[in-house]
């Protein structure tokens, strides 16, 4: 394996990992605040849909900045859509799994409905302005590491890694993070201390909507290049798996997302690589899911995740 093969493997891994990192971080925020979010998949769908529609409509005016603004649009759409989950679980005491499933059922149908309303066909055209590849001037001159990590690489991937570090800082070093975690562990105690449990949980779910929407937008604008009903197929659940695999920690979630991105990448492009090409694709495709089940069984058992995760908090009068 020469340097250029390794470099392309790293770049492709990062590209596949980016949407997973962002969405897994979204899951972390929601679940650390005590709201289980199985609706990440649906949120990604809305993010992907809105960013592609935005990209197609504004590529002429915004040029190379289109996908980045599209990323923001995807995030905001995801956030608005996650309001369904927030209102249902936090205010209306719905079961978190039912509400998340509603989000997953609603998103693809609504998105395809709107695609047909806007374009009169079942899928969009290909976008013209995608994220493309990026070279860090200067850093790419470093021997060996430069060509692998900094030449012709994916800028959104580094953005996602930066978001992961920020998310870790916010969750473990700020007042907001402490309160969010308190609400996810023991809402009664948090309420006694004057923390607004409902507001914190809304914040957690909305942040997860924003990050999940961005995850979908990255996937659509970097990998798929258009929006169809199969554009997002399981990435939201892999991201959820990454969150669990990373034990609800932003940096852990990021690392597992990169690992799952690697598995996804080699399951698609592994046929060119020695050794890996001899493994049937099914093992690589199923690997993230099998590993998640194994890690749940072996390492986590009963004491997994935030204590009050998935439990509705009903304020006593």
């Amino acid at each position: 394996m020469d340097l250029s093969t390794i470099a392309s493997l790293v770049t492709q891994t990062l590209i596949y990992a980016t949407p997973l990192i962002l969405t897994a971080l979204g899951g972390v925020f929601s679940e650390r605040g005590g709201v289980v979010n199985v609706g990440l998949e649906g949120i990604m769908v809305m993010g992907a849909f809105s960013s592609i529609v935005f990209n197609l409509s504004f590529a002429e005016q915004l040029g190379i900045w289109t996908p980045w603004v599209g990323l923001l649009v995807g995030g905001l759409t995801g956030m608005v859509f996650s309001l369904i989950h927030a209102v249902a679980t936090v205010s209306f005491r719905a079961d978190h799994i039912i509400s998340g499933t509603v989000v997953n059922l609603m998103a693809p149908s609504l998105a395809i409905f709107l695609v047909k309303v806007i374009y009169q066909k079942g899928q969009t055209d290909n976008i013209r302005e995608s994220f493309g590849y990026f070279t860090f001037e200067g850093l790419s001159k470093i021997p060996v590491l430069g060509p692998i990590f900094f030449e012709g690489t994916s800028l959104p991937a580094y953005f996602a890694i930066a978001v992961a570090i920020i998310a870790w800082f916010v969750l473990s070093k700020t007042k907001f993070g402490l309160r969010l975690r308190a609400v996810g562990e023991n809402p009664q105690a948090a309420d006694t201390l004057g923390i607004n449990v409902y507001a914190m949980r809304y914040a957690g779910v909305l942040i997860s909507g924003f990050l999940g929407g961005m995850g979908g937008a990255v996937f659509a604008q970097q990998i798929a290049g258009r929006f169809a009903v199969t554009t997002i197929s399981g990435q939201g659940f892999i991201a959820m798996a990454a969150m669990i695999f990373g034990k609800w920690n932003p940096l852990g979630a990021m690392a597992s997302a990169i690992f799952f991105g690697f598995a996804q990448n080699i399951s698609i492009s592994g046929s060119n690589l020695p050794v890996i090409s001899s493994i049937p694709a099914v093992y690589l495709q199923a690997a993230p899911y099998v590993l998640t089940i194994l890690v749940l069984v072996i390492f986590l058992g009963k004491a997994s995740g935030p204590k009050a995760n998935g439990k509705n908090y009903i304020k006593s009068k």
Partner: protein, 381 residues
Amino acid sequence: MDNSTSNLKKVLVPVLSVLLGFLLGAIIMWVSGYDAIAGYKTMINTAFVNPQTGAINPKSIGEIFVTAGPLIFTGLGFAVANTAGFFNIGLSGQALCGWVASIWTVLAMQGMPKLVVVPVAVIVGALAGAVAAAIPGALRAFFGTSEVIVTIMMNYILLYMSTHIVNNVMSESMIQTKGVTKNIGLEGSLRTEWLGQISNGSRLNLGIFLAIAFLVLVWFLLKKTTLGLEIRSVGLNPFASEYAGMSSKRTIIISMVISGALAGLGGVVQGLGTFNNFFVQGSSLSIGFDGMAVSLLGSGTSVGILISALLFSVLKLGGQGMQFAGIPPELVDVVIAAIIFFIGISFVIKLFIDKVIKDKKAEEIDLKPTPSNENKEGGTI
């Protein structure tokens, strides 16, 4: 709370949820510039009426039952697990197992008489679904692993496995073209000539009758047998059941196995009845999540599941016709999702019903102070 009010609520909550779902669908159509009334009219017409003659179409009615069969099975599957206190989100994967296993069995038993082939294939399919559900059940019972996450993950594992089996494991003689198996023919099918004839050439098959038989069986199992009592008590309070001498571990696994077998049968009916072959699936089977929706709307009861499965079948089939009115058929899936949303937030709907009833009572008996029901709604949901 008196009994008549709570019974009233049991009916009113789903009815109101359906109405609100349709209302939301109408609003979406209206906002997107379509005529909502015409849209729903086309939907109903497509589901029931023959466009040429204007009379009720036996073929459409047949297709409604074709669609309802698998939904009843997956709905029952969800209901059994839910009664024991579990969320079986893996219905799609378990149904997929049933579908692949039953088709595979029939293709492997080519040439044998129908009376042998079909029952064997049905049982193999149910077993495949049961095995797929036993894994999350056992993990839950022995390691406390969340069955929600395990079943979600298994949906994808099984999806990739099914593709792998069709593309790489099945013998060449069973494959039509890449990713599609051969048709099982009438000899291995749940269809019969007679059912096809009376329904004007629809795909009507024995699946719906099997489904109705299981509606009764599951009702009997849950309400009239010791096992049913155990499943219900574990669902209500696993610790109390343990103290009462029931093994909650055993009950967890058994309820998941039954749930998976039912979902597997859903896949069998889809395979041996609706399609008569298997083709590689790109995403989780829709009968999985639709079955969950059917069960939630029917509040897990046999009658409720039957009615909601028929309603969803009308929606799904009628929705296909909405494109003739220029409306994308995906709208009905939005309506279904919205109905489940309203079922999910039934707490609010119940509060609303309470308020309406209370207002009426207050008018009747001139503001006699009534104790509030709100505190009773507290606790975990």
